[in-house]
Amino acid sequence: MDKKEAKRVEIINVALELFATKGFYSTTIPDIAKALNMSVGNLYNYFKSKDILAKEIIKYISHYLGNKLKEINMMPISTKEKTKKIVEVYFETAKNRPHMIDYFLRVYLSNREVFKDGCEGMICVSEFVTEIMIYFEEGVRRGELKNQDFFSAFGLFMGYLGGMVFLKGENILPKELEEYIDDISNNIYRALSAK
């Protein structure tokens, strides 16, 4: 990674944390610049506006998770094992990089107006969604998952995981997220399975 790219990634990470904790509208470009110890003018050299930054962040998160899922999709393992690995990756990310998941739930899904131009439909999360589709498609092709509408399966999978992370964030879950991995991946697999 060259210096400019490294800086870009640093800005994205700092901004995503601020957006996720303080909210999109309450966070200003000067706040972000201050947290980075850089001038506002210099920050604009990297991102021309707050909206553009917001869109780049969601693409960055989608790329990060998409890559992890792609590795899982390439493994020579059963769909059941893949299911567990995806749940692991999601919870691991929620634990080690909680702002990423928060950003997705609290900024991207909650402020759709910011993303309407340039992030139409699922364009900005396409790397992530593509890998989920491949996981589903291959599961059905191998006779392991039941063939159904994409969104009924996607909603079941992501809604469940998002819900658990939300409960954790609200301090309602009595145990750590990773202690739920076995049960949750079993539940998901059983719900989606062809058997």
Binding site: E120, G121, I123
Partner: protein, 292 residues
């Protein structure tokens, strides 16, 4: 064979004669018959009868085989396999006409055992007639377009080189997909099916089973009867030129959780889904409306 009439022997094996009928639609038959003659043809007037070609050895330059082949199948009590060997050995070229003669096709479902094409059983290569491979050209299709047959015959007559694919089909006609040239390409690009049979709008790949993006041939480049093609007219392509023709459920796209099981030729699943995600995000008003 440039300066004389080329002698054709048209042998039909386990066939519906659909290719023979399709050939009758060739508009320049008169000129064709000045350059070629049928020493034997099952439905056209020809020099010899079936009995003659079985009992005698008649001259022939090109052997045309229509229909699937089984060691059990006989013509006037003579195994078709013997007839093929007899004339293929003296012919300069052998052409398998149609998908049955090439891959087994729909007549693989016939009661005859071991029914196959001349050199292939679906994708699988066979060895019974392997010595003929060097002189064989496959023209798959159910039926084939008369123009494809006639152009191939003229290429042989004029000694022009044809480039063949791995199933021995001339690339001049089979290197393309049926999808190329369809009038519905814009709907394909923006992933709009919403097709209704008989209507001009919509692409049939997403819901209605169109197999054109992964089937080889020239249906949308060399139009049927010079005017139209199945897909332009609003009927999905059934992939009749392919080794695995016929598949089942021809009017519905087979999907796994919303992803088509068969993708456009050479396009990876990841590439397809990425592109699909982008195009599906946009609504193109013009393509949602009626054309007329």
């Amino acid at each position: 064979m440039q300066n004389r009439r080329v002698k054709l022997l048209w042998l039909s094996a386990i066939a519906c004669n659909g290719n023979a009928h399709s050939f009758l639609n060739y508009p320049n038959l008169e000129q064709f018959l000045k350059d070629f003659s049928f020493v034997y043809h099952p439905i056209l007037e020809s020099l010899y009868s079936l009995e003659d070609i079985i009992n005698k050895q008649v001259e022939c330059d090109i052997l045309l085989i229509e229909g699937a082949i089984s060691p059990e199948f006989k013509k006037a009590n003579t195994p078709i396999i013997n007839l093929i060997s007899k004339y293929a050995n003296i012919a300069k070229k052998v052409i398998t006409i149609g998908t049955c003669a090439t891959f087994g096709g729909i007549f693989k479902e016939s009661g005859y055992r071991f029914t196959t094409g001349l050199h292939f059983e679906k994708e699988k290569e066979l060895f019974l007639f392997s010595s003929l491979k060097d002189k064989t050209i496959s023209l798959s299709g159910c039926p084939i377009h008369p123009e494809v047959l006639v152009s191939t015959l003229y290429a042989i007559k004029e000694d022009l080189e044809l480039h063949l694919d791995r199933f021995l089909r001339p690339k001049e006609f089979y290197a393309y997909t049926i999808h190329s040239g369809c009038t519905r390409n814009e709907y394909f690009e923006y992933k709009i099916d919403n097709h209704q049979f008989g209507r001009l709008e919509g692409c049939m790949f997403y819901e209605h089973g169109c197999q054109a993006p992964f089937s080889h041939g020239s249906c949308n480049r060399i139009l049927w009867n010079g005017v139209n093609s199945k897909t332009r007219n609003g009927e999905p392509c059934h992939g009749c030129t392919e080794p695995d023709f016929p598949k089942q459920n021809l009017f519905r796209t087979k999907k796994n959780m919303g992803v088509p099981q068969f993708l456009p030729l050479g396009v990876s699943k990841r590439a397809y889904l990425t592109l699909a995600g982008v195009t599906k995000a946009f609504k193109i008003k013009r393509l949602e409306e009626d054309l007329f």
